[in-house]
């Protein structure tokens, strides 16, 4: 038993698990990190340096990959250059009561390997909205409380961006911003002057300059390859594998075990504490119990809630820490119903060099200040302008030497942007465990039922029309409104399954991400979110995880847990 005992166990090695591992080990805790998928080590990313002609099939997804990764295929992300980072959905089934894209990455680093790196703070407005509007329950944390932890996350990860002074999108500790391109610069002026809307360069976890600290000697600056999704041997973008896990490793306090599927939290009724985690080895089915004083759940919003719902005891007959009945409920994501695209005339004598791993961002302006709509909350846009490539020749009948002459010049500029909208927390957007269906390990399946509802539907009208209105205001041609049939999960920002709150009757976690009813268990992935904002959430998970780890170690030292 001795060898299976640690000070802390972290379940999951992705965005949140990496941070938990770093913070806990740096504070001296012997920490076991359990990852259900395979090992990945920086800087070993098998496809990272492949040239385009090294990739089979013009880097198009094969039928076999489509068949196996049938959920991921709905996103359009998997290609031969990156498909090893996407879970085999056939081997890892779940039940979609309503269409739900559960997009998983089972390997060390999780989805931090291929996130879009967009890094925004939630604002005071976001933390206050539930209380002001009487939606769900209030956040138990204010912006001012989390702000120093945002600072810490940004400084360590290296977030590039511009300082803007926008109340709805607080500034942070930024590395220099990427350039907007020539078309985007003019578009920014147009929508500011004509509509009072702001456009900024995306804030992203790519090192546009060296880090301002010496804690990550394994990382270099961003090389403008825009192949981040393959893994970056330069360490140019933040991931668990490139940044937090190496820090944890260097302390000598981390034991990282891949291929270990955590499926149950062990609860000791006499002690009134969680004592460990039960795992199955993905390779041989062997069951092992690991023990620790404190447990951090970082297995993703659905993953952590699944393990908790699957952890039954006489104290917790409805799932671990689930006195409130809210565990697995209130699933949110970001609604992505479309946007607009257009062609841009002119600018034919200019282009760009290097490949920018980033786009522009239009921060929320709806229901901000004096603007009032017939729905709550708002949305932001992400997009870019670019010169069109060889695909444009598919639209002409030109052949032979005449066609080849055209190859020498870049195509006309095109422009596109998509909206990401806040989804309100609804109790009925929930997951449960279907004990009648089992996976290949004999574990019952997760079953999920979450849809967008009236507030989101109303917002969608603005999300599409506003986009087209802005492109028209800029004088662009062929302005198209794009309508996507969004299913919850598709933005890969699922959250809210174990929300935090001051009232234990209405929430699973307290303001320090600590399970109300069992104080030595912390849940710091997207599960804790009380509302979604419309900003990409990873930076918020990093900040809350660092804060929770700090609290956990302090409570441990005081003998409170």
């Amino acid at each position: 038993m001795e060898t299976n005992s640690f000070d802390a166990i972290v379940v999951g090695s992705g965005m949140s698990g990496g941070w938990a591992a770093k913070e806990l080990t740096e504070k001296g805790l012997k920490t076991l990190v359990l990852e259900r998928g395979q090992m990945v080590r920086h800087p070993d990313y098998p496809t990272a340096m492949k040239d385009p002609w090294d990739l089979p099939y013009g880097n198009r997804i094969t039928q076999e990959t489509r068949r196996r990764k049938y959920v991921w295929s709905r996103t359009g992300y998997p290609t031969p250059s990156n498909e090893l980072w996407f879970v085999d959905d056939l081997e890892n089934p779940y039940v979609e009561e309503e269409p739900f894209d559960w997009l998983r990455a089972y390997h060390v680093g999780g989805r931090s390997m291929h996130w879009a790196r967009q890094s925004y703070r939630l604002s005071p407005m976001d933390f206050e909205a539930n209380a002001k509007e009487g939606v769900a329950i209030p956040w138990p944390v204010t912006y001012d409380e989390i702000a120093p932890w945002y600072d810490k996350a940004e400084i360590f990860a290296g977030i590039s961006g511009s300082v803007e002074g926008l109340p709805q999108l607080p500034d942070g500790k930024f590395l220099p911003p990427h350039d907007l391109n020539c078309v985007e610069v003019d578009f920014k002026k147009t929508i500011d002057q004509k509509m009072g809307r702001k456009l900024i360069i995306g804030r992203c976890a790519n090192l546009t300059a060296p880090l301002t600290h010496n804690e990550s000697p394994q990382r270099g600056t961003c090389q403008a390859r825009n192949m981040c999704i393959r893994g970056c041997p330069f360490g140019g973008y933040f991931s668990s594998v490139s940044a937090t896990l190496p820090s944890a490793e260097r302390t000598g306090n981390m034991t990282l075990l891949p291929d270990q599927i955590a499926y149950e939290i062990i609860y000791d009724e006499k002690k009134g504490k969680a004592t460990g985690v039960r795992v199955i080895d993905a390779n041989n089915g062997k069951q092992t119990d690991y023990f620790a004083k404190v447990i951090f759940m970082c297995a993703s919003a659905l993953g952590s809630a699944y393990i908790m719902l699957n952890s039954l005891s006489s104290r917790f007959p409805n799932g671990f820490g689930n006195d409130s009945g809210e565990l697995g409920c209130n699933i949110m994501d970001h609604n992505k119903p479309g946007g607009s695209s257009a062609s841009v005339e002119g600018y034919l004598d200019v282009a760009y060099t290097g490949r920018r791993p980033n786009g522009f961002y239009i921060p929320r302006y709806r229901n901000v200040g004096k603007d009032k709509r017939d729905y709550l909350r708002g949305f932001g846009y992400q997009g870019r302008a670019a010169r069109s490539g060889f695909g444009r020749f598919n639209e002409s009948a030109i052949v032979g030497a005449d066609l080849k002459k055209e190859f020498a010049e870049p195509g006309p500029w095109n422009f596109g942007m998509s909206a990401f909208g806040e989804i309100l927390p609804y109790h009925d957007n929930r997951m449960k465990i279907d004990r009648n269906k089992k996976d290949k390990y004999g574990l019952p399946l997760l079953s999920v039922n979450a849809v967008v509802r009236e507030n989101e539907r109303k917002m969608e009208v603005d999300m599409r029309n506003d986009a087209a209105e802005m492109l028209e205001a800029a004088g662009y041609k062929n302005v198209k409104v794009n309508s996507d049939n969004f299913h919850v999960g598709n933005s890969i920002h699922e959250m809210g399954t174990a929300r935090m709150g001051d009232d234990p009757k209405k929430s699973v976690l307290n303001k320090y991400n600590q399970v109300h009813a069992c104080k030595n268990v912390f849940v710091t992935d997207g599960s804790f979110m009380v509302s979604s904002g419309c900003q990409n959430p990873s930076l918020t998970y990093m900040a809350f995880t660092a804060r929770a780890a700090d609290h956990a170690v302090s409570e441990l030292k005081k003998g409170n847990i």
Binding site: D51, R60, Q63, E83, A224
Partner: protein, 204 residues
């Protein structure tokens, strides 16, 4: 991970990984970007074999000859490489087999047969045996007709054109002769006059 097959030469890959490991660690330290670039470009891939495919995986020899002739007509060899130099026919054969769903595979085969028959009827000899000018004239007319007509499902000539372009611009010669391809650009410049670019088209 099971179910993932990447066409990689394992020895090559190991050497490449070891090298990259060093380069990446050095970049954290003192090596200059151009030096790193030179190292990385030194380990680029083998030349794509030139010429038409000789053994077909998915197409029949007859279909392959039609596809080769179409690719050669769309992007002929001039003072720069053409589709055949870039290995486009073999590329198309492979994509049809591995990437296209069954219904699109079937439509492609049926379309190739129709195209062959119609081209022969129009010019009195097989498409592949026609002079370059004749082939260009016929293909241009076919493309114009297809572009003006029903596009869903995609007509054969448009599928063949799309595959030819994709294959050509996924090949080493197609990319390097027509675009500025930089594996490790090191920096992004958002607004650059074309007059300051070596080639006007930047691979992205």
């Amino acid at each position: 991970m099971s179910g993932v097959e990447l066409s990689e030469d394992s020895v090559d890959l190991q050497q490449r990984r070891a090298l990259l490991k060093r380069v990446a660690w050095m970049l954290g330290g003192a090596i200059s970007a151009p030096a790193a670039l030179a190292i990385l470009q030194g380990c680029s891939a083998k030349e794509t074999p030139a010429g038409a495919a000789t053994s077909w995986k998915f197409l029949t020899a007859e279909e392959g000859s039609i596809v080769s002739a179409i690719a050669d007509t769309l992007i002929p060899k001039t003072d720069t490489s053409g589709a055949l130099d870039a290995g486009v026919p073999a590329f198309i054969d492979g994509v049809l087999q591995a990437v296209y769903p069954k219904d699109a595979q079937d439509r492609f085969k049926a379309g190739a047969a129709e195209f062959a028959t119609a081209a022969k009827a129009a010019k009195g000899k097989a498409f592949a045996d026609q002079a370059a000018g004749e082939r260009e004239e016929y293909l241009k007319a076919s493309l114009e007709e297809a572009l003006a007509g029903e596009r869903d499902p995609k007509p054969f000539v448009l599928m063949a054109r799309e595959l030819t372009l994709l294959g050509f611009f996924s090949s080493k010669v197609g990319i390097e002769e027509n675009m500025e391809y930089v594996a490790v650009p090191t920096v992004y410049h958002g607004c650059v006059p074309l007059s300051q670019m070596k080639k006007h088209v930047y691979w992205e």
